[in-house]
Symmetry: D2
Subunit: 345 residues, 4 copies
C-alpha cells in the first residue's frame, strides 16, 4: 500500500515518516509540502539521512490518486477542509490529523476555529478516529478525523467511567499539560526556547479548540450534553502530554473497583495500559510509543475520582493513532508498525 | 539584627543566605548544618565565593542564643519540632520553614507526617505565616510556622473568593505543578536529572502533606471544614510552582468582578499582583522574586472559576516569605531586602 | 543620572532594565523600541509589573539628549552604527552592546558582518569595554564598544597567560558553549524550544563574528597577530556561557603557578573569581550575576593549559558589563548596582 | 539465540532490553541485577509493561550457561572483571559494556580506574569492539570490550584522518559534551536535576578514564603513542554526546578533500553518516539510534581541522554498539535489530 503525507515538513508529518518507514505493509510514496516543495527531505531533516530519498512536492490531487492509496493530512487547521475532498472524490483513503473534520456541528467549528467549516455532508461522513472507542465505525471508513492530542488522553481516561455512568458528567474538570511539540513548528514567540524553558504557562483558558471536541465525544458516549472545564498548560518538554481529570462520583466505587472496570474495558486494547493501585503514569513512560497509560485514584474524603492519563502527543496524540486507524480500516493487526517500546530515559 | 540558619546546606537555606545578604537590617551570623559542619560554605557552594566567609557549625542552642536574635529553620520535617523549642525558650525569634508547627491538630500531623507531633502548647502558640492574610498575628509573634510552597500559592489564590463566600468550598480542586527544587537536595531516584527531564509526573495522590495545611487555612478563613482535592505534579524545571484552582461559583460574579475583588483585597500587598482580564501568569514571570501572580477566569458555560496562581517556590514558597514575616514581626517595611525584580528570561 | 535604552524590548534590553532598577545612581528615563513603540513595558513583560510604569518610544536623538545622560544600545548588528553617532554628537555617553564599534578595521567588520562598517573615525574613538583589562581607557570614554559574550569569557580567561607570554598564541583553541538567550528573541527555527531542547549543536564553524574580536584583543594584549580557532555550540539552557580554552605552554608553569598568577592579575577585580586547584566552575554558579569564574588545569603529559571560563551571557556578557563600564566612566565603585549574588540553584 | 543482561536495572541495561526486544534473532532470557533481584522488571520500569514479563535474578554463571548463549555486562567499572571470566569459561559469548577489559595494559587500568585490573591473559584476548574499525577481529571473538561513549564518538571522528596520516597526532584535542544518562543512575549530587539543569559543567580535567582508552586506540591505528588532551563537560540533557575534535593538519587537505576521504572510509559502514560541506550534526539528529554523524571543517587561517562527531551515548555509545558487535560476531547483517530512525524532535 502506498501512502502520501500532506504537511510532511511539520512535526506530525516527520513522525508519520518515522513510523511509516517501520510499517511492513505501507510504503511512503509522496511527501507534500507547499512551503518547502523541491527540497530533499534529508536536507531539511538530516536525521533521516540514509532512510528516505525523496523530494517534497506540491499538492496535486491527481498525482496523489495516481501514486498513492492513502493520504495523511498533517496540516494546520483550515487546510484539509479544502484539499481533502479532492482526494476523497478520487477514491483515496483520507486520514486528517487536523481539526477540520472532527466537529459534527459546522457552527461549533466556526465559533471555536474562527473560520468557515468544511462541507456539512463530509462532516457527517467523517469518522472520529478514537481507535479504542470507535473501532467498528473506523473499520469501514474512507475519511477519518483523527482526534486531537488532549482529547485522546482525556477521552481514553474518561471512557470507561462515562460509559458506566460512574461519574457526574457536569463535574468533569480536565487539567491538561503538554510538551511544546504539540504546537508544532510555528514561529511564534511562545515557542521560543527562552520563553518555554524553566516555565509553566496556562493558556487559552475557556477558548481551547479541543473543548468542543471533548464535549462532543463525551456526549456521544453518554447521550448527554454537558459543559466540561478544560484548561491547558505548556510544560518545558518536547514530547508528552498528561491530562489530570477530576470528577465527582455518581456511584460509590473504590479505586480498586474502578481499576477492575478499566482493565476490563481495555482488555482488547493493547495500547491502553492501566496502572496498578497506588501507581500513576508519567509521560516519559510512553515516550516515542503509541501507548496511553492511565492511573486512577478515588479520594474517599471528597468522593471524587482523579484520573491521570498520559500519551506521547506526537504518537498516540497524532501520527501513531493515525496509523493505528489505517490498520483498523484495512483489517490489519492494530499494532502493525507500532509495536515499539517507549524510549527510557 | 543577627540571624542564624539551621539547615543552611539545603536549597531553602542557600536561598535564605542569598536574600539575607541583600537585607540591610539583618546580618548572617551562624550557618548550622549537622551533616556538613566544619566545611566552609564557599567550598560547598562556590557561587557564594567572595560573599560570605563562614564555616558551617553544629546546632547549639546556647551559642545561637549568644550570637543571634532570630533563627530560621530550613530543615526536613521532624527536625525543628525538637530543636526549635530550645531556641524559643532562650528568647530567640524562631521562623520554621518546615511543616512541624503548621497543623494545629497533633493527630493530623501524626496522620499525614507519619511521626509524633511537636508539643501541643507550641502548636497553639505558632502563628501560620501566610504574610498577606495573617499580618496582625505575625506582628507580635515569636514562633512562625512558615507556610508550605503549595499552600502559599493555593491560599493566596483562594483567599479573596473564600472570604467573600463567592465559591462553593466543597468544590475546590487544586492541581499543583512544581519544579524540582521543592523536594530539596534529597538523594532519591525521583530527583535524578534523567528521571525528571522530559517528563511530567503526578505524585502522592490523596496523601500529600500539604492537603491538611490547605484545608486548615481555608477553614480558618471561612469557618467551615471542607475536604479539598489536591493533586501535585513534578515538572521538569528547577524553580517555580503553579496552582491551577477550580471551584464552582456560589455567587454569579463575572471574571471582571472577581478581578476587581482581588485587586481590592490585595491593594496593600505589594507582593501579590493580579493579572488583567484575559492574561494568566507563568512561573518564569516571578522567578527569583517574592511575588505571587494571580490570573482569573470564569467559565460562564460551566459556572466555574479557574484561578491560576504562581510563585517561585524557593522564594515566596520558602525563604522569601520567611524574611517577609521577619519584616512584619519587626515592624519593618514588608519589602525590606525583598524588592528585587524577577529574572527574565 | 538619567539613562535611555535603545532596543529595550530584547533580552539584553530587559536585563539592562532589571539591573538599572537596582542601581542607586541611575534612573531609567527612556525605553526605545521601534517595533513595539507605544506599548507599555509591563504589558510586554508582565514580570516588571509594579516596577516600571513606562511606554516604549521610538528613537529620537533630540528627545534622548533632552531627557537622558547615557544611552545603552542593545540592538542587533547594523543598527547602532547609524543611530549612535546622533547621540554622541549631542553629548550623550554611548554604550553599545552590539558589535558595530568593536572592530578597529572597517574591512574586518565588512568581511565578518557582511555589511558596511561604522564611520572609521568613530571606530578609532570607541573604547573596547572589557572592563577588567581596559579600565584606564574606559574611565575617560564617551563611546564604549561593549564586548561580545564569547569574547568576554575568552579574553578574561586568556589575559593573564597572554600578557605573561606563558602560552603559545598560535596554539589557542576556544571551544565555546552558550545558552540560547545569546541569540536573543530572533524568530528563527534554531531558537524554537523543540529544536534546542535535548540537543547540542555546533554552529558557524570558522565564520563566527566574535572571532576577529577575540583575535584583535589578543593582539592588543600581546602585540602579535595570530589566528585563533574558535568554535561555538548551542546548549539547551537559557542563560550561561562557558569557554573551554586550550593552549600549548610557552613557559613550564604548573597549575599552581598559573593559579597564583591569575589570582595576582585579578587581585583588584571583584567580578573575576579564580577557582582553587582541582575545582572548575559551572555556569550556574554565576547565573544572574556579573561574575566571570575561571578554573585552570595544566596537563603535564601534553604540556597544555586548559582554561575554563564561565559567565552569565546576559549579565557579564552584555548588560552587566555595560553598567560596570558606566560605573568606571563615572568614577563610581565598579560594583555599584551589580553586587548581587548568583541565584542557585 | 538467548541472551542475558547483567546489570539490567541501569540505563544501559534498560536500553539493551529495548533494543533486543526489537531484534529478530535474539530472545531475552535472563535479567540479572544483584540489588533488585526478585522484583519484576515491569514494576521497576513501568514503560516496559506488556513487553517483558520477567523477574530480575541474582548472578549465577551456571544458570546463565544453562539458559543463555550470550551475556551482556552493563555493570559499573570493577564488576565484570570478576564475573565475566566465569561466563567465558562456561562457553558464553561475553560483551562487556564497562571499562574492565578495554585497556591492554593492567598498569594503565590500575592508574586510571584506581583498582586492580582483570586477568592479563583475558585483557589480551579481549577484542576492542569499535565495530566500524575492528570488524575482522570482532567476527571471531568470544570476549568483546565494548568501547566507552566518548571514545566511540572520538575514534570514529578521528579514524580516517589518523589512518591517512593527515593530522598531527600530538596536536589532538577532544572537547567532549555529554548528556547525563552517561553517568547512569548513580545517586550522586552531580546527577540531581537541580544541579544539572540550566548548567554546563567541566569535570575530571586530566583524569577521565576514557583518556587512556582513546590514546590506546589512536596508537593502534597509527602505530604511534601520543598524549591527547581530553576534556569532558556535562550538558543539561538526558541522551546525546558530542565530541568536538581539533587537530593541526599534517597534509594540506581542504574540507572537501577530507569529506571525500571520510565518505570513502565509511562507505561500507551504514551507521556512520558524513555531513555535506557546511553542515554539522547535532545530537538530536541521532537520538534513539545507533548512528554516528560526523561533520568536518578545515580552518584555512589556522591550518587546523575541526571534527564534530555525535552519537546517542546510550545506543552507539553503549547498548546499540554492543548489539552491533553481536551481529558481527554471528555474521548477521550489522543492522539487524538496529535499523531504527532517530526520533525527532
Amino acid at each position: 500500500m502506498k501512502a502520501g503525507i500532506v504537511g510532511a515538513n511539520g512535526y506530525s508529518g516527520i513522525e508519520l515518516i518515522r513510523l511509516l518507514m517501520n510499517h511492513p505493509l505501507v510504503e511512503l510514496e509522496m511527501l507534500i509540502s507547499h512551503s518547502t516543495q523541491g527540497s530533499e527531505i534529508q536536507q531539511l531533516y538530516p536525521h533521516l539521512t540514509g532512510f528516505l530519498d525523496r523530494r517534497l512536492e506540491d499538492f496535486d490531487a491527481d498525482e496523489l490518486a495516481r501514486r498513492t492509496d492513502v493520504v495523511f493530512f498533517a496540516t494546520p487547521a483550515g487546510v484539509s477542509k479544502d484539499l481533502l475532498p479532492e482526494c476523497l472524490k478520487r477514491g483515496l483513503i483520507c486520514i486528517d490529523l487536523s481539526g477540520d473534520f472532527r466537529l459534527k456541528d459546522p457552527a461549533a467549528y466556526e465559533k471555536w476555529y474562527q473560520q468557515s467549516s468544511a462541507d456539512t455532508a463530509l462532516l457527517n461522513d467523517a469518522v472520529y478516529g478514537l481507535s479504542e472507542i470507535n473501532r467498528r465505525q473506523i473499520a469501514g471508513a474512507r475519511l477519518i478525523a483523527n482526534p486531537g492530542c488532549y482529547p485522546t488522553a482525556s477521552l481514553l481516561g474518561l471512557a470507561p467511567a462515562v460509559k458506566d455512568g460512574a461519574i457526574d458528567l457536569g463535574s468533569i474538570i480536565i487539567d491538561g499539560k503538554s510538551g511544546v511539540s504539540g504546537s508544532g513548528k510555528s514561529m511564534v514567540p511562545g515557542n521560543l526556547y527562552c520563553e518555554v524553558n524553566e516555565n509553566v504557562k496556562a493558556y487559552k483558558l475557556g477558548t481551547h479548540k479541543h473543548t468542543p471536541e471533548i464535549e462532543q465525544a463525551v456526549a456521544a458516549m453518554s447521550g448527554k450534553n454537558e459543559s466540561i472545564t478544560f484548561t491547558t498548560h505548556l510544560i518545558p518538554m518536547t514530547r508528552g502530554l498528561m491530562c489530570t481529570i477530576y470528577a465527582t462520583l455518581a456511584k460509590g466505587y473504590s479505586t480498586k473497583e474502578f481499576l477492575e472496570m478499566y482493565e476490563r474495558f481495555y482488555d482488547k486494547s493493547p495500547f491502553v495500559r492501566i496502572r496498578p493501585l497506588g501507581s500513576w503514569p508519567s509521560t516519559k513512560e510512553v515516550a516515542g510509543s503509541n501507548f496511553c497509560d492511565i492511573g486512577l485514584n478515588v479520594d474517599g474524603r471528597s468522593r471524587r475520582l482523579t484520573i491521570v492519563s498520559v500519551i506521547d502527543n506526537v504518537v498516540k496524540g497524532a501520527a501513531g493513532q493515525a496509523i493505528q486507524n489505517l490498520n483498523i480500516i484495512k483489517g490489519w493487526d492494530e499494532q502493525t508498525g507500532l509495536a515499539l517500546a517507549p524510549i527510557y530515559p
